[in-house]
């Protein structure tokens, strides 16, 4: 099945079985390996991407649902080899340790800040509740998102 969609600002056409997971299309067909598979059932959020403004688990989305959609992955955050303010804050606050949850975490944070540029710590916690991190205890992730919001 041919699917046309916009990915990180570029229109792409791919030919894939309709039930192929968006996560596999990203990783295998488009070589965008930023989104990770941590559980394959929508629990860990490591595969989070933004589709038409909403965060989804790309491991649960069949590609046939993406016709005409606009997709943002972690690779679409930085521009010209420069980190965006959110990524920079993650780096400076120590919000990424092993880094495996980071792409999904950044996506959830980006999505939050898009709709709520001045979130409280509780709102930040709620926004990233679907992204599991085993390294940080979440504190420095919350710090980084809060700092980005304050600096914007």
């Amino acid at each position: 099945m041919k699917i046309n969609f916009e990915i990180n600002g570029v229109v792409r056409e791919i030919d894939a079985p309709p039930m192929k997971r968006l996560l596999d299309v990203l990783r295998e067909d488009l070589c965008l390996t930023g989104a990770k598979e941590g559980c394959g059932e929508g629990e860990c959020g490591a595969c989070s991407v933004i589709v038409d403004g909403e965060v989804i688990n790309s491991c649960l989305a069949p590609i046939c649902q993406l016709q005409g959609a606009n997709v943002l992955t972690v690779e679409g955050l930085s521009r010209d080899g420069r980190l965006d303010p959110l990524q920079q804050a993650f780096l400076e606050c120590g919000a990424a340790q092993c880094g495996i949850c980071t792409p999904g975490m950044l996506i959830s944070a980006r999505s939050l800040l898009d709709v709520n540029p001045r979130p409280t710590r509780e709102e930040i916690r709620a926004a990233i509740a679907g992204n599991l991190c085993r390294c940080t205890g979440y504190i420095k992730i919350i710090d980084a998102i809060e700092r980005t919001a304050t600096d914007l």
């Binding site: 930023g34 990770k36 955050l77 120590g94 495996i100 990233i128 509740a129 991190c133 085993r134 504190i139």
Partner: protein, 762 residues
């Protein structure tokens, strides 16, 4: 100055842009996908392996134990674990057969067309069954290893005691739950094998592969890819998955990738050892401990793997950071027909810490003493002697961490207030824990290992660290570069780190045991010192300046710049070729251990921690919310304070999970909740606000005074939370995790007991 600065993480850019390459992000030409066929029974024999004749087996490559060129075992301590089962099955999920196919999907399908017939035997599934010796599955008594630690005269101690308090504590399995599952790629060469994947210990994999495939040091090449968390879970198991991938690659003559899905990862790979820990403590009326008798049983699972060393660390830590002249610790690791348990952050210490801290809580309650005062009266201070006879000569931050935690948390005031307002449907409680953790291998481990690391100075004037220690998120790459920058006298940005590849870096020992910073970091510092001395001798000859120094990238003498680091390096390399310096670890003078009597300096030094947890208990649902954790931890000099705090916060939250949430459910030797939907780890909504105070009691033999930080934070949260629940509800929990079900039972039993004591009040 680089040490003590919060410099940016070396591999941060890659991790933040999605560019970092984890093993599953790598695809090679002609690569096959591997799959493991595992046992469905916990104990028995394989009668037959049937391959469905309707499936086209030419589509796949199959390997079993007969394909192994070397001996069929995974090299570790005892070498008792086969890489693939031959006929005997000793646990569920034991690997039997390997399949490689063109796609993951095809390998899965092929695996479904294999059926295995078993002759089942009655399994031993619990520690009690193993100890009963009704059936023997290991040695003559089902015991992998036992230890005795004896100090003073326990019987005399009990005679001096005014009170004798007993307690039995139970701790569960815990899954490491790194978010990146286990994964490996094997690449067959002409006469070599290359493994690349997610791991903590490239040289463990190297050792295992060499033996299984009869390869020399050079023929086996092991490369760590960016690793998405380890927590001990990628200490020993990567040797197994690597060898499985290698066996398929060896047979297929093509690269093979194996990536576990979450269900296989939870079901089949090692976990934290469950344990039963019994305390019998003799106490004087003023709270002084005069006799301490502790019995520890850990469930090792079906093979010995690392159980002996986990048990040893558990036994040594079991009396806690408390002074007592009469101690007897007996410790046993038993064999059961469950998957082998192994390394998980803390390595035996979190288990015994829950027990000894709950025992302190119990002693305080039974004697009517203040729990804080009880700790103060007994705590180990500088000059005191531990259970193994180790005199604490340096860097003892015990009082410092306790004071800082108590003061910053307002523990005393809050505890007084809380007790006045706790009758509603939601009750608040505050609890304390105090703990310690020895950094580095236990006993003679480091002296025998002699960890090696090196420094190469490149013609471009950059310093490159050569070490087998791996970055698993904890900051190895960053802190090693800081240590080198500081010691050498160059900028942090001028230091880089070689890829962890056994063909390019020396064996620095495994990345475990809170040893990377303190032990290997020290070796890295010595290698940098050696490189600097070589260059200073060269500068002395070249300029006739015997007193030159290297500061901020310049050779300086008499206040005058002689030449830049880059210039001197270029000249040196032109004349002499490469510039590399290596160093090896040796224990500080006076640090000695006797394996036969189990006495001496168990660790060169301990790190110390204290923690206060505040909880709210919903008396209708029995759910516990951890509101806040305040902790002070003495880790010696913090090379990178921000990352050190990150270690403390992350370890603390894993310990919150251990205390409250994480429970594996077993049925006939098999984990049945092997998914993220039903094995629950803390989310951002479960994470309390945390306040972390770093206490820097410098250790004179660590790099710039640093001690270990990795595991200490895993020790303190479970008992602090249990103490807070006790404070809130009066329910004293002997077992974790404190799930609503377990808390409800405890509170209901408590009301029943009260009802019996006071029948009139019903």
């Amino acid at each position: 100055m680089a040490v003590g600065q919060n410099v940016l993480r070396k591999e941060g850019f890659e991790k933040l842009t999605g560019a970092a390459r984890y093993v599953d992000d790598i695809t090679l030409e002609g690569m096959l996908f591997g799959k493991t066929v595992r046992s469905r029974i916990p104990r028995g024999r394989i009668k037959a392996i049937n391959f469905d004749p309707d499936y086209d087996w030419s589509r796949v490559v199959i390997a079993d134990y007969r394909d192994i060129p070397g001996e069929n075992y995974v090299a570790l301590i005892e070498n008792d674990q086969p890489l693939l089962a031959e006929t005997e099955i000793r646990h569920c999920e034991e690997p039997i057969l390997l399949i490689a196919a063109e796609s993951k999907h095809e390998a899965e399908i092929a695996a479904r067309h294999v059926t295995i017939e078993y002759e089942e035997a009655r399994p031993l599934l619990t520690m009690e069954e193993a100890l009963s010796c009704e059936d023997i599955i290991y040695g003559s008594d089902n015991i992998f290893k036992s230890f005795l630690i004896a100090r003073g005269d326990v019987d005399e101690g009990f005679r001096q005691a005014d009170h004798i308090i007993t307690g039995e504590y139970r701790v569960p399995h815990q899954e490491q739950l790194y978010i990146e599952t286990q994964g490996m790629i094997a690449i067959p060469g002409e006469d070599s094998l290359t493994l690349m994947g997610s791991m903590q210990c490239p040289y463990y994999v190297h050792k295992s592969i060499k033996q299984l495939f009869n390869l020399s040091d050079e023929q086996a090449i092991v490369i760590q890819t960016t690793t998405g968390g380890g927590f001990g879970g990628k200490e020993e198991y990567p040797s197994v998955i690597a060898a499985h991938a290698a066996l398929l690659a060896h047979k297929a003559r093509r690269p093979v990738k194996m990536i576990y899905d979450r269900a296989e990862d939870i079901a089949a790979t090692p976990k934290r050892h469950p344990g039963i820990i019994r305390h019998r403590t003799g106490v004087r009326s003023d709270g002084r401990l005069v006799a301490n008798e502790i019995d520890i049983v850990f469930d090792g699972g079906a093979y010995a793997t690392l159980s002996s060393v986990v048990l040893s660390r558990g036994a040594i830590h079991s009396p806690g950071p408390y002074r007592c002249d009469n101690i007897r610790v007996t410790a046993r690791a038993v064999a059961t027909n469950t998957p082998p348990n192994g390394a998980f952050r803390g390595f035996g210490a979190p288990q015994v810490t829950f027990a000894y801290e709950m025992q302190m809580e119990k002693i305080a309650a039974e004697l009517g003493l203040d729990p804080l005062e009880l700790r103060r009266v007994n705590m180990l201070r500088e000059g005191d002697v531990t259970a193994t006879g180790q005199r604490l000569n340096w860097s003892v931050g015990s009082e410092d961490v306790l004071s800082a935690t108590v003061e910053n948390s307002g523990y005393v005031e809050k505890r007084r207030k809380i007790s006045q307002y706790n009758n509603g449907p939601k009750r608040r409680g505050i609890g304390l824990s105090f703990f310690f953790h020895g950094a580095g291998f236990t006993g003679s481990g480091e002296a025998k290992m002699k960890a090696e690391a090196g420094l190469e100075i490149t013609p471009e004037g950059r310093a490159r660290v050569l070490t087998g220690s791996t970055e698993i998120g904890q900051g190895t790459r960053t802190i090693f570069c800081q240590i080198v920058a500081e010691e050498l006298g160059v900028g942090y940005d001028d230091v880089e780190i070689e890829e962890p590849d056994t063909s390019r870096v020396p064996d620095s020992g495994p990345t475990v045991a809170s040893r990377t910073c303190m032990i290997v970091g020290r070796v890295v510092q010595f290698a940098a010192r050696e490189a600097k001395e070589i260059l200073l001798r060269f500068v002395a000859e070249r300029f006739g300046e015997a007193d030159a120094q290297l500061i901020d990238g310049w050779f300086i003498a008499g206040g005058k710049r002689l030449a830049s680091f880059g210039e001197i390096v270029r000249e040196y390399i032109k004349l002499y070729g490469e510039l590399r310096a290596f160093a090896r670890y040796a224990n500080p003078p006076g640090v000695e251990w006797d394996d036969d009597t189990y006495t001496g300096d168990a660790y060169p030094v301990f790190s110390y921690g204290a923690e206060v947890a505040e909880v709210e208990v919903d008396m209708d649902t029995y759910e516990v919310t951890t509101l806040k954790i305040i902790t002070a931890q003495d880790i010696g000099r913090a090379i990178h304070p921000l990352m050190a705090a990150g270690q403390i916060e992350g370890g603390t939250l894993q310990a919150v999970g251990y205390g409250l949430l994480e429970e594996l459910v077993w049925e006939r030797g098999r984990v049945v909740n092997n998914r993220l939907t039903n094995y629950i780890i803390p989310t951002s909504l479960d994470a309390p606000e945390m306040e972390t105070i770093i206490i820097e009691k410098e250790y004179p033999h660590g790099p710039f005074g640093a001690k270990g930080v990795g595991e200490l934070p895993m020790d303190g949260a479970a008992p602090a939370i249990a103490a807070a629940i006790f404070n809130a509800t009066g329910a004293f929990m002997h077992e974790i995790p404190i799930t609503p079900e377990r808390l409800m039972t405890a509170i209901e039993n408590m009301s029943a007991t009260r009802a019996i004591d006071n029948p009139d009040r019903q």
